[in-house]
Symmetry: C2
Subunit: 210 residues, 2 copies
DNA sequence: GTCTATATTGCGATAGAC
DNA sequence: GTCTATCGCAATATAGAC
């Protein structure tokens, strides 16, 4: 039985060229996220994807090339920050939009945080070209928002803009990072997200003192 | 030439039993932190430590056993949190002590954050027995501190204690997590630590609004 | 374009010498 | 208690068939 179908090759599981490539990316995303670059063999990965092991070299030039493609796709969502900044809202509204965006981003892509923390603490060769520019751009925009709020006398004059941005980003991201350790203590389901946004805005703007 | 010395065996580099074991732990800590459990071979590890590869099985029962010992040592520092809680100071003073403790801990052990984030996002079999109890204990104590402050009318009544604790912990830890991505933007040297503590206390207690 | 089969390298673990 | 040498296996990459 020939593998020609509509004059294209298809693989054993009936995928065409694009499906095969996409299946490799999605399977690699899940596995690399769950066990890290070195924790997954291309043998297992290709088997999980229902594809021959040689396809990884053919399409991505090897395991590291596949990882680099996964990383690129993961961090492409960081470009959305530009939309938040383009609106002509007040600094405070932009901060709320940022917090909401981070939460939605983690909900839509539960794997991103693994690549994010893994690259920040154990950078691969792709950190400088893929990860650093993506994170750097977000931080730069947030710093501008804080500086704008200070200039307009909305925020305190003695704030260090970069430290302030890191405090805000840390607050939100840590909620997701700590999930495994705090699932007995709080409900991490998306139903609480609205409350979370209000709560973090309250702490960040007014502090905890009564 | 015999390897007997004072009636004890010593290895090629003149280490005695304890030195050899400690050298394996310290080398493993650095390498596992830099490249993860799967990123390091016991071949390279033993060579770096100046010790025979078979010593890893002999003392730790294999690579995973060595990793587990490293993890245990790393998270043993979490027990220090009990000292902070035992003082009879106000909730606010305890929060400042906590922030200072986290910062000093990261300064004294730059590797901890790698194991911390790696275990939270890609847990090994040792997460439930070693990591979860250590983190859980810290969070539990911090939650009590916040609840105490609320009960004494020092903190706002509408705070969710667990979310508040995660906001605080995230703020401080993220400063260190983001080091690689922000070293062009701010000075991460210990000289700024005092300023950092004051700054984070300000944001956390009073918020950013002027 | 996709597959199978294989070449080559490196892994973790351990037997046995000292 | 420590070392060297080796076993068996799994890793990545690729040549060659279809």
């Amino acid at each position: 039985m020939s593998r020609y179908l509509n004059s294209y090759y298809v693989n054993k599981n009936g995928m065409d060229k694009n499906e095969l490539r996409n299946k490799l990316i999605s399977t690699a995303t899940r596995l690399f996220a769950e066990r890290g670059l070195n924790g997954v063999s291309i043998r297992e990965l290709s088997k999980s994807a229902g594809v021959s092991i040689s396809m990884i070299s053919y399409y991505f030039g090897g395991k590291e090339g596949l990882y680099s493609s996964v990383l690129q796709e993961q961090f492409s969502s960081f470009e959305q920050i530009d939309d938040i900044n383009k609106t002509d809202s007040e600094a405070l509204a932009k901060i709320e939009a940022y917090i909401r965006w981070i939460i939605v981003r983690h909900r839509n892509n539960p794997y991103l945080l693994r690549f994010y923390t893994s690259e920040l603490t154990n950078p691969t060769q792709f950190f400088p070209s893929i990860v650093q520019p993506a994170i750097g751009n977000v931080i730069q925009i947030l710093v501008q928002i804080i500086e704008d709020g200070i200039a307009k006398n909305q925020f305190r004059k003695d704030l260090n803009p970069v430290d302030t941005v890191l405090a805000m980003a840390g607050m939100v991201n840590y909620y997701f990072l700590s999930t495994l350790a705090t699932q007995e203590l709080i409900n991490h389901s998306p139903e609480r997200d609205q409350e979370l946004i209000r709560h973090y805005m309250d702490i960040f703007t007014k502090g905890i003192l009564s």
